[in-house]
Amino acid sequence: MNRHLLSAADLDRDNALLVLDTATQLAALTDRAVKKLPTLRGRTVVNLFFEDSTRTRISFEAAAKRLSADVINFAAKGSSVSKGESLKDTALTLEAMGADAVVIRHSASGAAHRLAHSGWIGGSVINAGDGTHEHPTQALLDAYTMRHHLAGGTGDLSGRRVTIVGDVLHSRVARSNVLLLTTLGAEVTLVAPPTLLPVGVEQWPCETTYDLDSVLATTDAIMMLRVNRERMNAQYFPSAREYSRRYGLDVKRMNQLPEHSIVMHPGPMNRGVEIANDVADSARSVIVEQVTNGVNVRMAVLYLLLGGAQLGAGSELDTPDPAAAVLTEATR
């Protein structure tokens, strides 16, 4: 494992499976009476949340506490951060407090990367969602959930077909899932109106289509992304009703899915927009399970990043080589 978890791309197949296997073992432990393990005793985990996300924060907090870490919650609202303190000064404060890991949620893409590579702090950085970039632990819990239902809880996701539907353009969940699920051998299809697919998506390691109905029959897992209502005002699509009609998962569409397939949603849901009420509450919906799995997966990540000796910063895969991005030769 690298020192940080900033992107799902930081995980190769072996490391991704290591996280999932570790989470599986931890789930077996925590299913029994063992609610607290001594593993991270004396370690400090800071939840640094510049953006409201109660569910993600609680999940990380539960994970850290079950491993006996000391947890400090640092919510930006109402703190010095909202009074204009920079990310740098906040980071220096956390470093002075001796944070072994910082779990960061931020509205700016790249904030976790910046924190990890700026030299401001020495501990591990875990990206809990940065802008419209990535949310790697969400992808891990999604993969964990799919593996449980579609692959018997072991091995990778080779040949499994995953359909991700909705606002891919602004979705960090979609980005991390495409990367991780592909690493694990799954075949991913993105479904969205053309306005909500990023430029260059054809270079991503996945398929895309504008037609949800065309892929339902071959889908093993379907993941519905939240549609932010403000996108409607920015003319990404004409109305919530039209969106729902073309890209929402209703009972009729759900019935076109194969018998074994599962319905997922990273939450929070807009019931009646991207997912119908009856679908969200159906037997195929694993949405509540995703939440449970989130704690085990985050325990696994914390254990693997913090449970061992800290490796040198040289082991990171996510540092670009500046020289690679420069044209130094005549190219015509």
Binding site: D21, Q25, L29, A33, G308, A309, L311
Partner: protein, 191 residues
Amino acid sequence: MSAALTPEGTRTVLDGAEIARALTRVAHEIVERTKGGADIVLLGIPTRGVYLAQRIAERIRGIEGLEVPVGSLDITLYRDDLRRTPARALLPTTIPAGGIDDKIVVLVDDVLFSGRTIRAALDAMNDVGRPRAVQLAVLVDRGHRELPIRPDYVGKNIPTSKAEKVHVHVAEHDSQDAVVISGDSGIGEQP
């Protein structure tokens, strides 16, 4: 002892037959010491301790006709040296259906060295239940204890230098049974 020479400066200190005899003896001692073995649970420490526990259980069945519950107890999350090495993958913990409360738990490990593994195992077991008593069976005791821990059942005492490494091979995992020592013996045998 057949100190057969094996390649790369290693030497075999126990072969398959010797391991089999040692385990049989340990099984007999457990039955004797626990007055028939009625309330015991064998918990192997992964990886090889689990196979050894299963073999001991087979022998007890042979001796007493008794099905002894066997489980595995991973101690990784309880280690006190976590900060010294990269994080390790976790191994399975399986507790037999009857649990361990009020049972006599016999921990089974391949090699007893510093005693820190057993310390971690006692902690891990504490989170699983409350046995009536805990005993310890090991295939090899190589000395150099760092904690006040001693085995109840020993397959073979093998004096070693601290610099040496003791490898237990079991057929289920390593394709053959053997106990092999490698590395500097520290007592000037080598040129």
